[in-house]
Amino acid sequence: MKNIIIGQYIPGLSFLYKMDPRSKLIALMLLMVSTFILQNVFHILVMLSLVLIMLKIGGIEIGRIARGLRPIMILLIFTFTFQILFVKTGSLLYELQLDFSVYNILIAVGLFIVFLFTRKFMRFRLLYFLVIAAAIMTLFSLYSPGLYLGTRNIQIHTDGVSGAFFIMIRLIIIVTLSTVLTLTTKPTDLTLGLEQLLKPLSIIRISSEEIALIISISLRYIPTLLDEANKIMLAQASRGVDFNEGKLKDKVMQIISLLVPMFIISFKRSDELANAMEARNFVPGERRTRLHVLLWSRIDTIVIIVSALFVAGSIWVVVVW
């Protein structure tokens, strides 16, 4: 528990690290707006290659970005398949006839069960799933003995293909940009940047300083609470609670035996913390000076201008073409 790292910050030296978190947040927002302005698969491909060039200059490994993409892989494949299968505009590219019969459905179900039982042992589960899905499709189109049940046609249209790639690339760009932000900015700097950017919210009586303080205290207490959860789990285990096995009902009881003490301890903690903060002259809403200050440099101005130009460029591209 001694080596918990919050966030995915990795120290580095490139221009992305020298930037002010505020300018990074603004640039991120501008570029995200761009991805929503662009409406064409070729334009978004151009943007993707520009993003890749930025990664190259910024000295960020593609592997790290890929790891950031992993959680949304399912979403990517899902949207991709839906676009390809259900968009019926544009010219017809390919048509696949699927004949369903008793035997090939049985074989398909069998294949799926085999998949469920063997996926544990495979390294690339997603790839394995795709192979199995393709095999089932081929089966339906080529082999249909036994009692005939019906036919379905799968049609793939040009708009479906371009739309699928378009949405996938858009999602990849958005996730890549936000991963770059978290990779190159310390959580504390990010909080400070957010605080400064949210300052205008004071008009509607939302204090950005308090939001930032809440975030930074949460960040500070995550390792402490994890440590505590670990201790409670050990304490409960020594009293006979088994956190690994049991039916759903037992699991719920196990979670409760962890959560109840966690809640009580956390409330006690927050009470003492509030006392300690007040004793050190903290008054909510009062003016405070700050130890950490953000420094706006020339790189920040340049990046903001480039991002703004990019937005303008994408509007121009969409309107003129």
Binding site: M1, K2, I4, P187, T188, S216, I217, L219, R220, P223, T224, D227, R269, E272, L273, N275, A276, M277, E278, A279, R280, N281, F282, V283, E286, R287, R288, T289, R290, L291, H292, V293
Partner: protein, 268 residues
């Protein structure tokens, strides 16, 4: 000159269950006063009342000429720093330097001044090599030292140590006691709250609390020689005191003294 004056102070969390009743106390500038008492004797409640975290039912607290009430509470807090018992629950900053700065940020110190003071007081408690470290990489004793640096940096006239050493190992405890002595020698008024008589011996004066009432208040020497008071306080006595009382009880020979000494030290 009295820096803290407490007159007829009473407080209760629940009605008809008084935690403190009619406490009177005067502390002079530069003194070191220990507040001794059992769990539940009201000693921590007293410190929370002095710093205005709780509101007294009855009585008056005057800190450096200011009578504590809703309007003066923030000014009073500027004069008093407090180090709490649990090292984890008073560490506000994400790193050591952030935590030392927290109090100064609230007092609106200039940034340059803060950096200077962080360096000065971190060096003072020997934590200068840990400025960028996160709290979960520090031991309890180190966290308490950071807390002390944070209070010292605020430049308060009075520092209260509310059982600040009770969650530390013996080594960490000794170190904190050394810093307390040093701070007191530099002219800061110190109040240590403890149930350990060993810690109280170092102070100038001792106040013994029993069930919310002042049992005794006086010079450390006088209190330690007051056998009746100490016995009625139910506090765990120091080994030399226990031995002294045993010897006084009866005429006993050397062998018996040896036996008693062994027994007492085994019970320690």
């Amino acid at each position: 000159m009295n820096i803290i004056e407490i007159k007829d102070l009473s407080f209760s969390y629940l009605e008809d269950k008084p935690v403190l009743s009619n406490v009177n106390l005067e502390i002079k500038k530069g003194e070191w006063v220990s507040i001794l008492g059992h769990n539940g004797s009201g000693k921590s409640t007293l410190s929370k009342l002095i710093i205005g975290l709780l509101k007294a039912d009855k009585g008056e607290i005057v800190v450096d000429g200011l009578t504590l009430d809703e309007e003066t509470v923030y000014e009073v807090r500027r004069k008093i720093g407090i180090v709490f018992q649990n090292p984890d629950n008073q560490f506000v900053g994400v790193t050591v330097e952030d935590d030392i700065a927290f109090g100064m940020e609230n007092l609106c110190f200039e940034r340059e001044e803060m950096i200077k003071r962080i360096d000065e007081y971190a060096t003072k408690v020997n934590m200068q090599d840990y400025l960028k470290k996160e709290p979960h990489n520090l031991s309890g004793g180190q966290k308490q030292r950071v807390a002390i640096a944070g209070i010292l940096a605020m430049n308060t006239d009075i520092i209260i140590f509310d059982e600040a050493t009770s969650m530390l190992d013996p080594k960490g405890r000794d170190k904190i006691m050394e810093y307390i002595k040093e701070i007191n020698n530099e002219g800061v008024t110190v109040i240590t709250i403890t149930h350990d008589m060993k810690e109280a011996v170092h102070s100038d004066k001792i106040l013994i609390l029993k069930e919310g009432e002042v049992l005794a208040f006086g010079k450390t020497n006088d209190i330690l020689n007051d056998k009746d008071t100490l016995n009625s306080s139910n506090l765990e006595l120091l080994l030399p005191l226990k031995l002294l009382y045993k010897i006084e009880e009866a005429n006993i020979n050397n062998q018996e003294i040896k036996d008693i000494l062994w027994q007492l030290s085994l019970n320690e």
